[in-house]
């Protein structure tokens, strides 16, 4: 069930009304209802996936309880390993099995040894990367004694399957979300209204920005061999906005929907394209994943409290793992590697925490400097996005090579549109985001009623519905 589908348009109000008017009496009924609704939501893709998520939930629920019960270090470690093996094993099997088999066979073929691959017809369960990381955070936190495990299975299962963020995040920590399932939710007008505004703004980003960009991006990337430099540059810019609109739009909707049900989810995007360096970009992009890797991979490896050489190793580990988390393809690894490379000079010069606050323009000369910093960061990001979008590394390399043929022809694409047509839409979108960068979304505030109306009208008038696109992050 997609957030931008008509089915969800019926599902959400029904669930909302039942939740607040029928199942609002007790905490237990609220949680039970949310669990059922979440299972319906998830099972709508493929009911078989439900068994998998239920299995993962049961394992982590009992493992965490067992960890809590014992003080024996060795036993606690074994139990943690059990949880890690089961969760990462499932993730590895469903997401990476075919990739490893094919890569293994290809590697031997390169050495002249003929091998036969036997890949399985495996369907990747939607959102497996997201809920696996969410449940892992629970067992790890319990192991670290940072969290007390819950004894209530319904509570825990509701936390794992909470439908707004189940399939594409934000990846919530148990320490933040689980306590919210342990208190009865009261309806709050302001919170629900801000949730509604987030849903509308997220939907606008998805159907107006991301889906419009997708039409151009698909056409440009599939005909890149004959496209002009200008078209290819535009293709990478459009993809940057497609993936931003798509993923941050989904996150906004998830946070907004959660608020309608009385929950507060963490912010996942904070205007990343206004970053002045790549370190700032990674503090503003997919925040829930970046902080997950920081807390559960980077810091355990020593973080920045080790020698420079080990710091460099840690940075590469975290970016390569992050790249690989996105998908079973070498292109994601290169994408992660490039980001590590971008990050390295900042780390070595100890400037990776230079830009913590949101960008501000204080003078004309400052505007010039900041503009240059943002533009260069955006350019680096776009180069990395080419690898993220391309099917293979060689396609990405050829795409970049062709950009340097310096052919600035405005082309009429196979989709019967000129390549530059979308720039105006992107320009207005950036302008709106710039003037609302200190807020969560541009709707709330003065004249918010008017802004809601205008945004909904824009969703209808400028939205792209004839070529509906799946959320990109569903595949991860």
């Amino acid at each position: 069930m997609l957030f931008n589908s008509l089915l969800f348009l019926a599902f959400l109000p029904t669930a909302f009304l039942l939740y607040w008017f029928v199942f609002n009496k007790k905490l237990k009924t609220q949680n039970c209802f949310l669990l059922i609704v979440s299972y319906i939501f998830y099972g709508w893709w493929d009911y078989r996936f439900l068994a998998l998520i239920l299995f993962s939930t049961i394992i982590d629920f009992f493992v965490a309880k067992a960890i809590e019960k014992t003080e024996l270090k060795k036993k606690r470690k074994h139990l943690l390993w059990l949880s890690l093996t089961v969760n990462l094993g499932l993730l590895g099997f469903f997401k990476y099995y075919n990739f490893f088999i094919e890569s293994w066979v290809e590697a031997w073929q390169d050495l002249g040894v003929e091998m036969h691959s036997s890949t399985l017809n495996i369907i990747l369960p939607v959102g497996i990367s997201f809920y696996t990381f969410q449940t892992l955070s629970y067992t790890i936190d319990v192991y670290r004694k940072q969290l007390k495990p819950t004894n209530n299975f319904i509570e825990f299962a509701s936390f794992v399957t909470f439908f707004p963020q189940l399939v594409a995040g934000p990846i919530e920590r148990a320490s933040r979300l689980l306590p919210q399932f342990q208190k009865a939710r009261q309806f709050n007008y302001e919170s629900a209204k801000s949730g509604l505004h987030l849903i509308i703004w997220g939907l606008l980003k998805k159907v107006v920005i991301a889906d419009s960009c997708a039409i151009y991006v698909n056409s440009i990337f599939s005909n890149y061999e004959t496209a002009s430099s200008l078209t290819l540059v535009l293709g990478s810019i459009y993809f940057a906005f497609q993936i931003y609109g798509d993923f941050s739009g989904y996150s906004d909707m998830a946070i907004g929907i959660a608020r309608l049900f009385g929950f507060d989810l963490m912010r996942n995007f904070n205007y990343p394209y206004f970053s002045r360096d790549i370190a700032e970009f990674w503090r503003r992009w997919h925040i829930s994943l970046s902080t997950w890797f920081r807390d559960y991979v980077y810091i355990p490896l020593g973080g920045s409290k080790v020698s420079k050489l080990l710091q460099v190793r840690n940075v590469f580990v975290i970016f390569l793992v992050s790249g690989f988390w996105h998908g079973a393809n070498w292109t994601f690894l290169v994408w992660g590697f490039l980001n590590a490379l971008y990050f390295l000079p900042l780390l070595l010069r100890q400037k990776n925490r230079k830009h913590i606050e949101m960008v501000k323009i204080s003078s004309f000369s400052n505007a010039f400097k900041v503009g240059f910093q943002m533009l260069s960061t955006f350019t680096l990001t776009c180069i990395a996005w080419i690898f993220f979008r391309a099917d293979t590394i060689s396609i990405a390399v050829n795409y970049i090579k062709r950009i340097f043929t310096f052919n600035y022809k405005i082309e009429y694409l196979s989709i019967e549109r000129y390549s530059v047509e979308l720039l105006l839409l992107i320009f207005f979108f950036v302008l709106v985001e710039w003037f609302s960068k200190t807020k969560e979304e541009p709707i709330s505030g003065k004249l918010e009623y008017l802004r809601v109306i205008v945004c909904i009208l824009i969703i209808f008038v400028l939205g792209s519905y004839s070529n509906p696109q799946n959320f990109i992050y569903f595949q991860f």
Binding site: Y189, K193, I453, F460, S464, Y465, S466, N467
Partner: protein, 288 residues
């Protein structure tokens, strides 16, 4: 909660009103313009009298130049051919000719392999019909069996949203600023240039036995007392199963088989379409 529900309700009401207004605005722009789509061009002949009307698929649109016919005969002619049109589309156009009160002396309908396709319709034409879906009964009935019919005909603006790539904001802008199209210059004819000689095409081997849509077309023609002639436009001689056209000729009483009147391959764009030179020659021949 009450406050929140009222907030949603008031926003929804304003949106519905605005959607009606936007729908009206879009439809007005489409109704006012007669040059942006072929269907707008057809509508532009409302209450007019034309001597000869040509109906059919691209094998009419690309093959018959009405201006040449007018030059030779001194009679007005118009090409109402649509890309990928099927029998259902032709039937609809016949009904619309009646509805729009377009008077004619004779209607020529091009038939070929489309006789074997009683189902289906031209999506190119369908997109162009969207703004006018509520204009008359014929169009309304045409959309009734579509899966999005409810949204297309009943919900304000949703037809423009669902078909945004064809009838959305981009096309509205084009309707406001673009003044002419190729078919308006040639009375509905769209020329093709050049020849692609290495193409192949196979007509069906056999005519289908029953064709309800064709039967209802004949009944309609009879009831409305329309003067209709069926014909088949030229087909390149290397096309397979040319015998199919003879079967068509045997089946339909007032059918003119012109499929082999042009022999020169260089007059063809491909197996089924003439290029501009071929269309010029055929337009001179057709009234003989």
């Amino acid at each position: 909660m009450k406050r929140f529900l009222l907030y949603i309700l008031s926003v929804s009401l304003v949106i519905v009103v605005l959607l009606f207004a936007t729908d009206y605005l879009y439809t007005s722009v489409y109704k006012k313009n007669i040059t942006n789509s072929k269907f707008q061009f057809v509508r532009g002949f409302k209450d007019k009298k034309i001597n000869y009307i040509f109906l059919g698929s691209s094998r009419v649109e690309n093959n018959i130049n009405p201006k040449i016919i007018t030059n030779i005969t001194g009679k007005t002619a118009v090409n109402f051919g649509f890309q990928a049109a099927r029998l259902k589309d032709i039937m609809l156009l016949l009904e619309l000719i009646e509805f729009y009160n377009i008077k004619s002396e004779k209607i020529f309908i091009q038939l070929d392999y489309i006789y074997n396709m009683p189902e289906g319709n031209s999506h190119i034409m369908e997109y162009q019909l969207i703004p006018f879906v509520n204009e008359n009964k014929a169009l309304n009935t045409f959309f009734q069996n579509k899966k999005d019919d409810f949204f297309i005909s009943k919900m304000p603006f949703l037809r423009y949203a669902l078909y945004d790539n064809k009838q959305g904001i981009r096309n509205i802008t084009s309707n406001i600023f673009k003044k002419s199209n190729l078919f308006t210059e040639y009375n509905g004819y769209c020329p093709k240039e050049g020849s692609v000689l290495n193409t192949t095409y196979a007509l069906p081997k056999k005519l289908i036995e029953k064709n309800k849509i064709f039967d209802s077309m004949r009944t309609f023609v009879k009831n409305k007392n329309l003067n209709v002639t069926f014909f088949c436009a030229p087909i390149r001689k290397d096309t397979e199963h040319l015998n199919y056209i003879s079967q068509l000729s045997d089946k339909i009483s007032n059918f003119k088989d012109l499929s082999l009147v042009l022999k020169d391959e260089l007059l063809f764009f491909d197996n089924l379409h003439l290029n501009n030179n071929g269309a010029t020659k055929f337009s001179k021949l057709i009234l003989d």
